[in-house]
C-alpha cells in the first residue's frame, strides 16, 4: 500500500534544511492514502454542509405514487433523471436522503469522538504521568470498560433511556474512550521521562502547566491519529445502532436507518442497500486512510 512509501527517504544532500513541520507537510503531500482519504472526507463534508443547496428534493417528502423508482442506470421505464438514485419504499428521493444522511454520520461521529477523546485523553495523561496508584486505578477502569460488550450495552442503555440524537452521541462517546486512554497513557509514559519535562519541573512549573504545555503538545499527534480512527468507529457504531432500530429514529435520514428500511426489500431491489452501504463504506474508508496516513507521517512508531 501507499502507506509504506515514506520508508524510502531520498537522500537530500543539497536540499535546504527544512523545519520539522515543513518536512512533515511534504511527507503528507506525497502520501497517497492520506491525500485521497482527505479529498473524499472534504467532499463529503462539503456535501453535508451544503445539503440544502445540493439535495434535489426534500428528504422527508413522501410521494406514494413514485415508490421504489430504480436509479437512472437501471434499464427500467420508471427510472428518471429526476431521481438519480431512485426513491425508497415511501417514495422519498434516495439521493436527497443520502446527502442529508451525511450530516447525521458526520455529526454523530465527530461529537462522540470529542466526548470519548476528552475522557480518554484526560485519563491516559493522568495514568501515564502520575503512574503508581493513579495508573492502577485508571488501568482498572480501562479493563472494566473493555470487558463490557459495546453494542450490547449501548442497545440496553438506549432502549431504557429512549433514543434521540443526543442520547446516541453520549452513549457512543461514553463507551469508546478506551483506545484514547491506552494510547495516550503509553505516549505520556514515554514523554514523562524526557529532559524537557524534568527541566520544566526544575524551573518550578506547576503540574497542570507541565501537563498542558509540556506533555500535551508532545502527545497530540497520537491523539489526532486515534481521534480519526475513533470517529470512524463511532460512525460505524451509529449505523449499526440505527440499523437495529435503536439509533437515530425515523424519519431522520441516517445511512444505517436507510439500510435497515431497505432490508425487507433487498431481495427485489438490491440497490436499496447498496447505495447507503457504499456511502458508509467510503466515508469510513476515507477516515481510516487519513488516520493511517497521519500516523505514518507524524507517529510512524505507532504503526503496529
Amino acid at each position: 500500500m501507499s502507506t509504506l512509501e515514506n520508508n524510502s527517504l531520498e537522500p537530500m544532500a543539497d536540499a535546504p534544511v527544512l523545519s520539522p513541520g515543513k518536512v512533515m507537510l511534504s511527507h503528507a503531500k506525497s502520501h497517497r492514502g492520506l491525500m485521497l482519504g482527505g479529498l473524499v472526507i472534504l467532499t463529503i463534508m462539503l456535501v453535508a454542509i451544503f445539503a440544502p443547496l445540493l439535495a434535489p428534493h426534500d428528504p422527508y417528502a413522501q410521494v406514494l405514487s413514485r415508490k421504489l423508482v430504480p436509479p437512472v442506470w437501471f434499464d427500467s421505464s420508471k427510472a428518471t433523471w429526476d431521481h438519480i438514485l431512485g426513491t425508497d419504499h415511501l417514495g422519498r428521493d434516495y439521493l436527497s436522503r443520502l446527502i442529508y444522511g451525511a450530516r447525521i454520520s458526520l455529526l454523530i461521529g465527530f461529537s462522540a469522538m470529542l466526548i470519548s477523546g476528552v475522557i480518554g485523553t484526560v485519563l491516559g495523561i493522568c495514568a501515564g504521568y502520575f503512574g503508581g496508584r493513579v495508573d492502577m486505578v485508571i488501568s482498572f477502569l480501562i479493563t472494566t470498560r473493555l470487558s463490557m460488550p459495546v453494542v450490547l450495552v449501548a442497545l440496553a442503555v438506549i432502549s431504557i433511556v429512549g433514543s434521540s440524537l443526543t442520547v446516541v452521541i453520549w452513549v457512543i462517546g461514553l463507551l469508546i474512550w478506551d483506545r484514547f486512554a491506552v494510547v495516550v497513557r503509553s505516549a505520556t509514559q514515554q514523554v514523562r521521562g524526557l529532559d524537557f519535562v524534568a527541566s520544566a519541573r526544575a524551573l518550578g512549573s506547576s503540574t497542570p502547566r507541565i501537563l498542558f504545555s509540556e506533555v500535551m503538545p508532545n502527545i497530540s499527534n497520537h491523539v489526532i491519529v486515534i481521534a480519526t480512527l475513533e470517529m470512524a468507529h463511532a460512525i460505524l457504531l451509529e449505523a449499526a445502532l440505527s440499523f437495529l432500530g435503536l439509533g437515530v429514529q425515523p424519519p431522520t435520514p441516517s445511512w444505517g436507518l436507510m439500510i435497515s428500511d431497505a432490508k425487507g426489500l433487498m431481495f427485489f431491489d438490491g440497490w436499496l442497500i447498496a447505495v447507503p452501504g457504499t456511502a458508509l463504506f467510503l466515508l469510513v474508508l476515507a477516515i481510516n486512510l487519513v488516520g493511517d496516513g497521519l500516523r505514518d507521517v507524524t507517529a510512524p512508531e505507532d504503526r503496529n
Partner: protein, 305 residues
Amino acid sequence: MLAFLLKRLSMAVLVALTVSSLTFSLNFLSGDPAIALGGESATEADLQTIRETYGYDKPIPVQYINWLTRAVQGDLGQSHYLNQPVSEEIFQRLPTTMALGLCALVFALALSIPLGVLAAIRPNSLLDRFALTIAVVGQAMPSFWFGLTMMLWFAINWRILPVSGSDSWKHFVMPSIALGYYITPGVMRLTRAGMLEVLRSDYIRTARAKGVSKFSLLFKHALRNAIIPVVSLAAVQFGFMLGGSIVIETIFAINGLGFLAWESIQRADLPMMQAIVLVLSFFYIALTFFADVLNAWLDPRIRIG
C-alpha cells in the same frame, strides 16, 4: 508465576465485581423500575406489590448484594417476558453463539495469519500491498452491510447457501465470514509486524545458514515466536466478537445469545438483558485472564516484569 497469577486473578475478580454493579445499575436508569414494570395504568397498590415481589422496596446496596448472591449461585433472575429463569434460556442459546464465534475465529485466523506471514516475507511486494488493502477495506466495512450483501449474492442470486436460520453448518458460513472478517485486519497486521521483527533476528539467520527449509524456517522457527502477541489479541477479539455477534445474529436469524439479546430489548425484558451483558462480560474477563496466563507461561519476561 504464583505471584503473577494471584495478582492477575484478583484484578479479574475486581473487574467482574465492577461490571456486575454497572450492570445492576441499569435497573435505575429509567427511574423507578416498578413503574417501568407495571406500566402506565398501574395503581399505587399494584406498584407496591411489584416492589415487594421483586425486592425493590429494600435499600439499593441490599438489593445489589441479594442480586449478586443469586447470580453467583447461577440464578440470574426471572425473565419478565418468558416468566421462566433467565439462566435456562441463556444456557440454551449460549452454545450457538459459541459455535458462531469459534467458526468466525477460525475463519479469521486461517485468513489473516498466512496472509500476515506472506506479507512479511516480502515487505512492499504486490502481495504485501494486497494484504494491506484487505486490512484497510475490512476495517471500513460495516459488518451488517457486508452480511446483507453476502446474503444477496450467495443466498438470493446464486442460491448456494441458505438465507437465514441456524439449522445446519451451511447456515453458519456467511455469518462466520461476516463476523470474522472484521477482526482479520488487526490479526494480520500484528502477525506481519511480529514476523518482520523475528525474521531480522540472529537465530533465524543461523537457521537459514544451517540450511533449514524455507517452509520450516517460516512456520516452525519464526512463526512460533511471532505468534505470541497474536494469541492474546485473538482471545481479546474472540470476546469482542461474542459481544458484537448481536448484529450478525439478528441479520441471519441465528438463534444464539445475540439474537436473544435483541429479542429481549424489543420486549423490554431487563433481567434477560442484564444477564446477557453479565455472561458475555464474564466470559471476556475469563478469556483475557487465560490469555494473559498463557502469555506469561510462554514468555517469562511478562511474569517477572
